[in-house]
């Protein structure tokens, strides 16, 4: 079991190409130092982000997620981020209803000029997830053998 200070969270960031990705680029070219925990996945627009991708990121080892795009009214495709916003409102509510830890998902608007904001955001999220610890809710959920079901029944 890693101690809290050793734990290096894996953060997956789903970002839009025209704003947040460019913003992250700016943070890089400005040589802003920020936590190396984030893995960026580039989309043309936040409107393209399928809600299942968030769940799949957690299943494949992510401890935290950032979803970020253009500010409202600034979407490169006019209204993609508006549709995304509605989708996130609904999906977040569903996740909360089934007991998923929505605190591990951070949504934000980061524009192409906000390199500093991106760095701050990643740092904040990394610290936050570090404090929460690794994501283990999906571990040990899949029973394959009857013996495991039985063992689980004994410990209940």
């Amino acid at each position: 079991m890693q101690s809290m200070s050793d734990f290096e969270p894996k953060i997956v960031a789903f970002v839009c190409n025209w704003c947040t990705y460019a913003g992250a680029d700016l943070a890089g070219t400005s040589r802003t130092q920020y936590a190396p925990s984030v893995r960026i996945v580039r989309f043309p627009c936040t409107g393209r982000i399928d809600f299942m991708l968030l769940m799949k990121a957690f299943e494949n080892g992510a401890d935290g997620i950032i979803v970020s795009g253009c500010h409202p009214n600034d979407c490169h495709y006019t209204s993609g981020n508006f549709h995304a916003r509605r989708r996130w409102i609904v999906f977040r509510s569903l996740l909360d209803f089934i007991g998923f830890d929505t605190d591990r998902i951070t949504f934000s608007w980061v524009s192409a000029a906000e390199g500093k904001k991106w760095a701050t955001l990643v740092n904040e999220v990394t610290e936050h997830i570090q404090a929460k610890g690794p994501f283990t809710d999906l571990d040990k959920l899949d029973f394959i053998q009857l013996k495991e079901q039985y063992d689980e029944a004994i410990t209940k």
């Binding site: 899949d142 394959i144 053998q145 009857l146 013996k147 079901q149 039985y150 029944a153 004994i154």
Partner: protein
């Protein structure tokens, strides 16, 4: 066949001793939803006795809904393949109905007759079947139409029949003898079970069906009989003799596993070819396949009819489709 009796008072002791012996004991449990399912239990208090039939069969003990065939992991450039088959525990299934235990005979024939399946073989060898005969039946039961009865000993190791305040036990196999407790069970002369068994009305004559089903494939009644079916897998999954499965690989280049999971011929994509062609393109064809398989094809392939008349498909079907009503209508003279 050995015949013994045990008092109803001693049944919990016998049961709890089986649990203490270290075996996994699977018995019917009443869930919050009001349905009864087979689950591993710790003591006799958890066992449900006041029900006619469980929602699902106990086939998941020998043919789990998801079974890991093997897993692989890459370490230092080489792959290690692991199978968990040796970890299968000794299991006792308590509370099967005679129709269910008869179904195990079909499963054994299917999995072991021609190309023995190592997974089924290991699990079945480590499973003991204790059946309890039926004192009650409902409108969906039709075991007597397919050559069985509520007190049949086919397929089980021990059959218990409740007779007032004693349980009459018929032990058919060595496995059954091995788990009996001689301090609780006393030898008994043979008794008639008739007054303690449910009366199940025959819905059809199997001989007549066998004869008429030869020509049933072309019957124009199939379309009407299967109109209500919307192609879910509920009937296949609850059926004690349905054995169709799918092999799924889950993983990536670093690690993964190969799984065998339940599949159903009623699902639309079941027979879809890689070319895109589907030889059973509509629900009529798929429903026809299911019924013909149960009553004709399994007889041709394995020599036994694969329907045991448990009625689960009727109870679980969202459209209340009725297998014996369908069979009667498509084989009308």
């Amino acid at each position: 066949m050995e015949i013994t009796t045990i008092t109803s008072e001693n049944i919990p002791t016998f049961f709890n001793n089986l649990v203490k012996s270290g075996k996994v004991v699977v018995a019917p449990v009443l869930k919050q939803s009001g349905k009864v399912f087979f689950e591993p239990v710790q003591s006799y208090d958890q066992v449900s006795t006041d029900y006619i039939q469980t929602a699902f069969s106990a086939k998941s003990v020998v043919f789990p809904k998801v079974e890991e065939l093997f897993s692989y992991v890459r370490k230092e450039g080489d792959f290690t393949i692991t199978s968990h088959l040796t970890e299968v525990p000794e299991t006792i299934i308590w509370g099967l109905r005679p129709c269910d235990s008869s179904a195990f005979n079909y499963l054994t024939d299917f999995f072991l007759k021609e190309n023995p399946d190592a997974y089924y073989k290991t699990r079945k060898e480590r499973t003991t079947l204790i059946a309890v005969s039926c004192a009650k039946a409902d409108a969906a039961c039709f075991c007597t139409s397919v050559g069985l009865n509520p007190g049949s000993t086919t397929g089980c190791d021990i059959l218990l029949t409740v007779m007032g305040d004693i349980y009459y036990a018929e032990i058919s196999t060595e496995k059954g003898k091995a788990i009996l407790d001689p301090t609780l069970f006393i030898d008994s002369p043979e008794k008639s079970k008739d007054e303690y068994l449910a009366k199940v009305e025959t819905k059809f004559s199997m001989d007549q069906i066998k004869e008429r089903i030869e020509n049933a494939y072309e019957s124009t009644e199939w379309k009407h009989e299967s109109m209500g079916c919307f192609g879910c897998g509920a009937c296949a999954f609850s059926c004690p003799t349905c054995t169709c499965f799918d092999i799924q690989d889950e993983g990536n280049t670093e690690s993964g596993k190969r799984l065998r999971c339940w599949d159903a011929c009623g699902l639309g994509q079941f027979t879809k070819h890689a070319s895109g062609h589907n030889p059973r393109p509509n629900q009529t064809a798929r429903r026809r396949q299911r019924l013909m398989h149960k009553f004709k094809y399994s007889v041709e392939n394995l020599g036994i009819i694969s329907c045991v008349g448990c009625g689960r498909c009727i109870r679980v079907c969202p459209a209340h489709l009725n297998i014996f009503e369908n069979i009667l209508n498509v084989t009308k003279a």
